[in-house]
């Protein structure tokens, strides 16, 4: 368990024309994290800025960040032994084999030659990378390269691992493989992840934070977020629905003609009974993260029709 205490964290940049851009606006949170903590948000929502400040790569414009009581803004050196990061678009050094990349990274982190060698061999065995260890990155698939990068940061023994969009660009199989690895990692490490893939966030996360335009709009477990939204159930009505029935909750008319109703347990139950009685086809599911994300951070597709 690691305690994150963040108060009024803001980051402002100057763009090329000298105009001020705000990447983060007064983000505050107080959370004891174990397992995987995922940040989701649209492009430019502030996910990468947030992760870069927490991992001591970037200074904030204002605000405080404490990780397990360590002030990472004022004393970044105190936390750097315990953190490791794979930035967005990070690459293996192309003129070094996978094994050499891991070994050099461990030396940079300050392990002696013997320890670095032992740790390199151990992580290669643990990640089943023996076949690829002595190959140059250009001979490895995208998924294997990403696996080597994850192996590299894990071998450092850092308690907190920051992964900025680690699965972007991977095929579905490689993505699943990496999910399995991340699921194993959360036994020993705290993983702070950013992703665009909402099903990935739903599958992996113990905690989720939704950022929109630099603001933290929701944080918690998927279940607490569902409860807080007030619409824990999603009913999809496939057609034949008459407009006379009053719907309670958030109603979205999809472009394929279906209606989606987000509602609380009681309203969902009542509506389901009515639909069964009228022999109208429907499905009922817990509201997905994708639905929640669209409600909080996105524009729902055309045909939106909202009533309370």
């Amino acid at each position: 368990m690691v305690k994150f205490t963040i108060s009024n964290l803001s980051k402002r940049y100057d763009d090329k024309n000298g105009k001020k851009l705000t990447a983060l606006k007064n983000v505050s949170l107080n959370l004891d994290v174990h397992g995987i903590f995922t940040l989701i948000g649209r492009n430019g929502a502030g996910k990468t800025t947030f992760i870069r400040i927490l991992s001591t790569e970037l200074s904030p414009s204002s605000g405080n960040v404490y990780i397990d009581g360590v002030d990472v803004v004022k004393n970044p050196k105190e936390i750097r032994n315990n953190i490791a990061v794979i930035p967005q678009e990070a690459q293996l050094i192309p003129w070094m084999t996978a094994r050499e990349n891991i070994y050099a990274y461990l030396l940079w982190r300050g392990f002696n030659f013997k320890e670095a060698k032992e740790k390199t061999n151990a992580i290669i065995a643990r990640f089943k990378l023996e076949k690829y260890a002595d190959k140059l990155p250009r001979k490895l698939s995208g998924g294997t390269k990403r696996k080597v990068l994850v192996a590299l940061v894990i071998s450092s023994n850092a308690k907190i691992i920051f992964l900025d969009e680690p699965t972007t660009g991977l095929d579905p199989i490689s993505r699943r493989e990496l999910w399995n690895i991340l699921n194993e990692l959360k036994e020993e490490h705290i993983v702070i992840l950013t992703t665009h893939y909402l099903e990935e966030a739903e599958e992996l996360s113990d905690y989720i934070a939704i950022l929109n335009k630099g603001k933290l709009v929701k944080i918690g477990t998927i279940n607490t977020i569902r409860d807080e939204i007030g619409y824990p159930y999603a009913i999809k009505i496939f057609g034949g629905f008459d407009n006379k029935t009053k719907l309670h909750g958030k109603v979205v008319k999809k472009s394929d003609g279906t209606l989606q109703v987000f509602s609380d347990e009681k309203s969902a139950n009542n509506l389901a009974k009515k639909l069964i009685k009228k022999r109208i086809k429907f499905s009922i599911n817990p509201t997905s993260l994708e639905d929640i994300f669209y409600m909080l951070a996105g524009d729902i597709n055309g045909g939106e029709n909202e009533s309370e």
Binding site: R80, P87, Y105, L107, G110, N112, F113
Partner: protein, 247 residues
């Protein structure tokens, strides 16, 4: 965990020099050939009379070009591999990382220095004092080139821009100034332009030390002062410019 500083220094040397040479030996051939192109031209054009000066010029060019190379390497590792971002969030300090990369550039110049040293032993017959003088000049030349390269890496936004700077600076510091030929070959009004390059003073000291050109003592003292001042100020400037965590 106790951080091993020697390991951190070695990591940069391994990553930026040893593994590159081991996995891509063609880089070694390219590096070795670089200072000899101009040396061969100078040799033929001067009918062999400038061979000694050309060899000394080779030493200075190797220091300049490998020192300036830090710019391209740092920019490439930072922008394309995101290595710097990974290392900022780790126990390695910026000074240790930069020192390691600088050392790697020196390691990269070892094959050149070996070949040039063999040529120097055969053709120049350096005295102990001249050899020490040359070593000191090379060290200062390397230090200001590294600092200049590092400074450029902090202002260039991508590798392409960096390469353009590198080519330009390499030409201004090693091809145009009197590094492969004596300063006295330049007619006087134009000689003042040559004084704008610190390598002019490196070469003057080196050429004077082997007795090829006899400069006045005051000029040699001024040359040392210029070299030391340029190196020190560029190092201080580079240290001040160094940013590990972004603002």
């Amino acid at each position: 965990m106790k951080v091993n500083r020697f390991s951190q220094l070695s990591a940069s040397v391994l990553a930026n020099a040893i593994y590159a040479m081991k996995n891509f030996p063609v880089m070694l051939v390219n590096t070795i050939l670089a200072p000899f192109g101009l040396l061969i031209v100078i040799f033929f054009v001067s009918h062999g009379t400038l061979l000694n000066v050309g060899i000394l010029g080779g030493f200075i060019l190797v220091m300049v070009s490998n020192g300036i190379s830090i710019q391209g390497d740092l920019t490439h590792l930072k922008n394309d591999m995101k290595l710097q971002d990974m290392l900022v969030s780790s126990p390695v300090s910026p000074a240790m990382y930069i020192a390691g990369i600088a050392l790697s550039e020196l390691v990269f110049s070892i094959p050149d220095l070996l070949v040039l040293s063999i040529l120097a032993v055969i053709f120049i017959h350096l005295s102990a004092v001249a050899a020490l003088t040359l070593a000191a000049v090379m060290l200062l030349t390397f230090m200001f080139s590294i600092s200049l390269g590092f400074f450029i890496s902090t202002i260039s936004r991508d590798v392409i821009e960096g390469w353009a700077f590198m080519g330009l600076i390499s030409m201004v510091l090693s091809t145009l100034p009197p590094v492969y030929y004596p300063l006295t070959y330049i007619p006087l009004p134009f000689r003042y332009i040559a004084y704008l390059s610190p390598t002019t003073f490196s070469a003057a000291i080196a050429q004077n030390s082997i007795g090829f050109v006899n400069f006045s003592s005051s000029f040699i003292i001024i040359s040392w002062v210029v070299l030391i001042a340029v190196s020190t100020s560029l190092i201080v400037f580079a240290v001040k410019r160094s940013r590990w965590r972004e603002e």
